[in-house]
């Protein structure tokens, strides 16, 4: 068998009119970093599970994408994250929803899969398990990006005027 991997950093209305060569280069570099992280695992004979974990961690670390560092804000100005992982060998899967705290939420999802009898967990207990397992929990500011904060206020201002952004992609994660 020969290995294969694909990654995404989100889909939507990615306006060419606002995309500059510098931004396009930055996004492409972020994608390349994640692709290389996952492919390195496969090239060394590693598992698909470890490859997707490595690739998604790299994407969560990149503030340009909407996960982990750079996650968007709710109407209350807070960040909530969801993550999932699934193993095609036996359909084992772990997911977390509405959590905030770990540098890499996908690692918390994997902890659910590997250390609990459950599939999906929310709330403080799984965060506690993550701390005990040694996952990294950076300070809140680590996750803040001005671009996401500004996007929230643009959205709230639009809502306050009773307007709704017609762009279907605004409901994209």
């Amino acid at each position: 068998k020969r290995y294969a991997i694909a990654i995404h950093g989100g889909a939507g209305t990615i306006l060419k009119s606002t995309m500059t060569p510098e931004k396009e280069a930055a996004y492409s570099a972020g994608l390349e970093t994640a692709l290389a992280a996952g492919e390195a695992v496969l090239r060394d004979g590693g598992s698909a599970l470890d490859a997707v974990t490595a690739a998604v961690c790299a994407l969560e670390d990149e503030p340009l994408f909407n996960a982990g560092r750079g996650a968007v804000f709710t109407t209350e100005g807070k960040q909530e994250m969801d993550a999932a992982i699934m193993d095609g060998r036996d359909r084992s899967t772990g997911t977390v929803a509405g959590i905030f705290g770990p540098k890499n939420p996908v690692k918390l999802a994997r902890l659910v899969m590997e250390t609990t009898p459950h599939v999906c967990m929310i709330g403080d207990h799984i965060l506690e398990l993550g701390r005990k397992a040694g996952l990294e929990f950076p300070p809140r500011d680590y996750f803040f990006t001005q671009a996401r904060w500004d996007a929230l206020h643009d959205t709230l201002a639009m809502k306050a005027k009773g307007q709704e952004d017609a762009d279907p992609a605004r409901r994209h994660g």
Binding site: G9, L59, F73, M81, A84, M86, G88, T95, G173
Partner: protein, 134 residues
């Protein structure tokens, strides 16, 4: 939302997805990412899928499981199944966005019905790239 799907040299597949939701979402809103069979799915007999887009629609159409089901019950290829779900089931029902998917033979497909999708792919035979627009 970000995600990855992979097939290793043993022919095992896996999928992982992570998201911050959408800007200005209501507190407590959960999208398709943590719902197995919607935004994230993996099964060696068919495929691994990671989705990104209008989560509520990906949930209602169980996007990941639907792609696997079309392969299992209709004998569709990965490409045919993923394209149908993204362009028809989701695309015609306010489900803008896309998926990345891989099967246990190492076939890849990355269809999307929106203007762009940040994406990358690499295969052992050397085919490799990153792209944003169609």
């Amino acid at each position: 939302t970000v995600g990855a799907v992979a097939c290793d040299r043993e022919g095992n597949v896996a999928a992982a997805t992570s998201t911050g939701g959408w800007t200005g979402k209501l507190p407590g809103r959960v999208g398709d990412t943590p719902m197995p069979g919607a935004g994230n799915f993996a099964e060696n007999a068919t495929c691994a899928v990671s989705g990104t887009g209008h989560g509520e629609v990906f949930i209602k159409y169980t996007a990941g499981a639907e792609i696997a089901a079309r392969m299992r019950h209709r004998g569709e290829t990965l490409e045919q199944a993923a394209r149908h779900v993204v362009m028809e089931d989701l695309g015609r029902n306010d489900g803008s966005g896309g998926v990345i998917a891989v099967d246990a033979k190492g076939n890849l497909t990355l269809p999307f019905n929106s203007e762009g999708m940040y994406r990358g792919w690499a295969r052992e035979d050397g085919d490799r790239g990153v792209a944003i627009y169609k």
